[in-house]
Symmetry: C2
Subunit: 194 residues, 2 copies
Amino acid sequence: MRSPQPLRNGGDNSCSPSHPPRFHSTVAEHKLRRFNSLILVFRLTSFSFSLASSVFMLTNTRGSDSPHWYHYDTFRFVLAANAIVAVYSMFEMGASVWEISRGATLFPEVLQIWFDFGHDQVFAYLLLSASAAGTSMARTLREMDTCTASNVFCVQSDIAIALGYAAFLFLGFTSLLTGFRVVCFIIKGSRFHL
Amino acid sequence: MRSPQPLRNGGDNSCSPSHPPRFHSTVAEHKLRRFNSLILVFRLTSFSFSLASSVFMLTNTRGSDSPHWYHYDTFRFVLAANAIVAVYSMFEMGASVWEISRGATLFPEVLQIWFDFGHDQVFAYLLLSASAAGTSMARTLREMDTCTASNVFCVQSDIAIALGYAAFLFLGFTSLLTGFRVVCFIIKGSRFHL
């Protein structure tokens, strides 16, 4: 399903409403491609961090005498949130690659714009709350005997949570860019006013 | 310090860029007042919840044999986040009342618009992460002996955290409205295109 609205091209890449689209420009097209590539890079980084966080948490179990991540609700929440963000980022990377290569959005443009921004916001909140909850749990474990008995478990949990924060950071940056696209769409009826 | 830009008035309250300001309309002015009043109501609700949460957490201490909120880092974080949001909401309520009564923003318009939206976003993230961390800690306490020894302490902590979530919800609603004002400002150079 492609966007019903074709790309519009003009003189610059700002989303000022005062300049209507004028003529096809390779410079403008290059700028749009660069903007979309930046989104792709942020998504890739966010995907990498959230996937790494999920893997770190998932493999945080060694032997029957050591604590396991699935014994703690909070760590299950951290894993779930990071896994969700990893899957979402992978899907969005596909959508970005489609957009860069074909010059059209995967869903109809208006849907794509709001879908991206809405999900970026919601998942950023989800990831931050999971990481904050994880931090609280990790600190609590340090005050108990768990970490003296199995320090590796605590260190690996800390790393997983830190990776979750990094994923949140890049998801937040992406959210700013997709927010900018929403504003451009409201102004000009096009996701990016070239 | 008043806004250097006077209010502009037109036919409707949408922020479509296609209709330039036309004439002064009492209906349009009434609509702007209603929009600002809605923001004020949300801020008041957010303030009430965050203040109540702070008070509930602050008074969660009874006798020397019972646990105290300040023994737990997470509960200190919950209290601090709610107190910050309460103070911020109180300040913003003052700014809203000023705007409704005088028809001009407290700071220069562009600063006020971005200040409101930026702080709403940041404090919403702060409050959610504090509440999520608090939830994690409250669940941990229930699994330990703390809650069997002093159930009232745990119940009161739960209430404080729940009030924090409510404050976050209304701060989120306010953030949507101030986000709408930012979009209107970008489009028309006025915080609300009447």
